[in-house]
Structure formats: structure tokens, C-alpha cells
Symmetry: C2
């Protein structure tokens, strides 16, 4: 979002696997001990998609809501992707690429894909009549929803059933400001028990 | 939120267990086939907490953000409750009251409580220095976070480890506009398999 807005910023990489997100200094910025966190002029924020919405509202640009109704729809789609897409997409990605190959479960993948089918169908239908989610231009709504859906690309999820989503996602992720996602690479160790898997994804 | 703002509205009850949320008429208002959905002057919105944020921004009141920084923090806490609290709290509630008594799992309850401990600790610490989440008054942030946490009360979740959260939640839920939650009563049939449980809560 900062790159889209052309705002200078300092990116401070913080490793969430070695305890760096749980130092007293970091917890002052984000008491949840998670990345990302944002700090500017004494304002500290957590929750990445909330940070993006704030930046869009603060810095007038084509990505910003032009009025309260646009803002409402951008907020709505942002909540929608957290509620409907994020966790099942992570479960699908875990069983496509993030777990070691011999630890993947076809049954869990099927559950995840079944859960994703309804919201992806809704998004596909929505995008059958428009190029972008809100107001016929690329906005913070597209940025937030596509940011979560980078996982679909990282996992090479078959999107052929949702061609409008596929086309829209390509348009979002091909923007110069979005290039960073292409170098993301990480693994998740599979929990040893089914309860552990439930604990990971709930 | 509409009651807090003193706005007249028509509440149209829609049963989500008998197909009423999947009629063509309802899907025009919310293509996801879920309640709640909001319609006013041609604007249709889904995602309950996004609707609340919109109403707070549209109708000036003590619950509304007074500036972009307050708005950012209200949005942040709203995302936080969806990301950190909603699903594990539902899993805890399922195994405390929503599943039939002989279908509850102590192991699942423990997982849920373990997952909730960190974010509830963060909230408890945050509320050790202030009465409300943002700006020292009851706002849409408190409304949204406490709305999700009604489940803790319905499930009689032991909150003694987080006394500040307990006190704050009581203050939020005792507001006259919030009385409706007390009559909520529903059961969730437990899925037959562990994979079914994962599918329900992911």
C-alpha cells in the first residue's frame, strides 16, 4: 500500500520465528507479537488490512474511498476476505505446498476447496460485471482481497472454475507495487495430531 | 448499532436454517447467503462489523471516530476480534454449550482456550490502563469487539484470568441498546468426523 501511494517508508524486517516479535520493544508496537506492525508519528497499528484501509483514507489517491459508501464497500470486502477466504485458503495452501510433501492430506485439501467454492463463486459473479471490486477502479478493496489471495498463486491453486477471479487477481498482482509477493517462500511444519491441525487453523 | 445511534429501522428476520437466505431476493442483498445484511437508499452491505463501522462513520455520535487516527484504531480492533477471537471462541462455545452435551470434547475446548489466552491477555493488558478500547469512551470498536464476545457470556466462559476484559465486557453488554443478545439461544449439531469439525471451524 505504501508503494502504491508513493510514500517513503522504512521497512524493518522482523523474524517471527526467532522470538524477535516478542521482545519488549516490539510488543510496544504490536502487543500481539505479530507482523506486520505500523508506526508513524506516534501512531502504532496492527492488523495489516486495517493498516491499508487507514493509509488509503489518510492519503488521497485513486485507491482511496471517495465517499462513505465507497468506504463501506471497501471495508465490507476486506472483512469478507478475512471471514470467508483467509483460513480455508491457508488450509488448502498447507496441503498443496506449505506442509512437507509426505505430510499433506488430500482430505483436508478437499475440505478447504469445498469451503472456498462458495465465496470464490460469489466473487466470480461479482467480477462478471465489473473489472474491480468497487467503483470501477483499483482500490484498497482490491489490494486487501488480492493480498490475502496471493496464497492461491503461491500454492498454484487451480482457479479455472472462477475465471473472472483469476483475471482480476492477475491484474492486481501484476501491478508494479505488488511485485514483492513473488519471492515469498515458507514452509509450515505439520502438527503431529489432528487436534494440532484444528488448533493451527481455527 | 442502529439502536445506539437512535436510528429508526425495520428488522426483517431471515431464517438461515430453512433456505430463506438463499432465495433470489435475499441473494440480491447479500450474495453470500448470510445474515445479517443491510439495505438503505440503494446501498446493500454484508459483513456485520463492516456495517457497524459504516454506520458509525455516517452518523455522527460519541461512538463515531472523531478523526482518521481514531478510525484506524477502531478498524484495527475490529479486524483483531475477527482474526484472533471469533473462531476459537466459537470452538470453545461449541464444546461448552452449542454441541449436545454428549458430543462435547474437552480436548477441543482446551485447544480453543489455549488459543484464546494470548489475545485475551493482550486485551486485558490494554484495558488495564483505560476503560474502553479507543479514546476513553464507548465507541464502535467496543461495540464490535463485545458483539463477538457475547459468545463468551452465552457459553458462561470463565473470564477470571482476564478481570479487565470481564469488567469491560459487562459494561458493553449492559448498555440498553445491547439487550437483545440475552435471548439468543441456538445449538450446533456436531459434525460426525474430526475432518467435519475442521471443516466447520476453519
Amino acid at each position: 500500500m505504501l508503494k502504491e501511494l508513493g510514500i517513503e517508508f522504512e521497512h524493518v524486517p522482523v523474524n517471527f520465528t526467532d522470538g524477535s516479535t516478542h521482545t519488549p520493544e516490539f510488543l510496544k508496537i504490536n502487543p500481539n507479537g505479530r507482523v506486520p506492525a505500523y508506526e508513524s508519528d506516534g501512531l502504532c497499528l496492527f492488523e495489516s488490512l486495517a493498516i491499508n484501509l487507514y493509509l488509503a483514507r489518510k492519503h488521497d489517491s485513486p485507491l482511496s474511498p471517495a465517499n462513505l459508501e465507497e468506504d463501506a464497500l471497501m471495508t465490507q470486502w476486506t472483512h469478507w476476505v478475512i471471514t470467508e477466504i483467509e483460513k480455508p485458503l491457508l488450509l488448502a495452501a498447507a496441503n498443496l505446498i506449505l506442509f512437507d510433501e509426505d505430510k499433506r492430506s488430500l482430505a483436508e485439501l478437499e475440505i478447504a476447496l469445498k469451503k472456498l467454492a462458495r465465496p470464490l463463486g460469489v466473487l466470480n459473479q461479482h467480477l462478471s460485471e465489473r473489472r474491480y471490486l468497487v467503483a470501477e477502479r483499483f482500490t484498497v478493496a482490491d489490494l486487501n482481497v488480492s493480498a490475502v489471495m496471493t496464497l492461491a498463486r503461491l500454492a498454484a491453486l487451480d482457479m479455472s472454475a472462477w475465471p473472472n477471479v483469476d483475471r482480476w487477481l492477475e491484474a492486481c498482482l501484476e501491478r508494479p507495487a505488488a511485485a514483492d509477493w513473488k519471492v515469498i517462500s515458507f514452509k509450515i511444519p505439520r502438527p503431529e495430531t489432528d487436534l494440532g491441525v484444528l488448533a493451527m487453523f481455527v
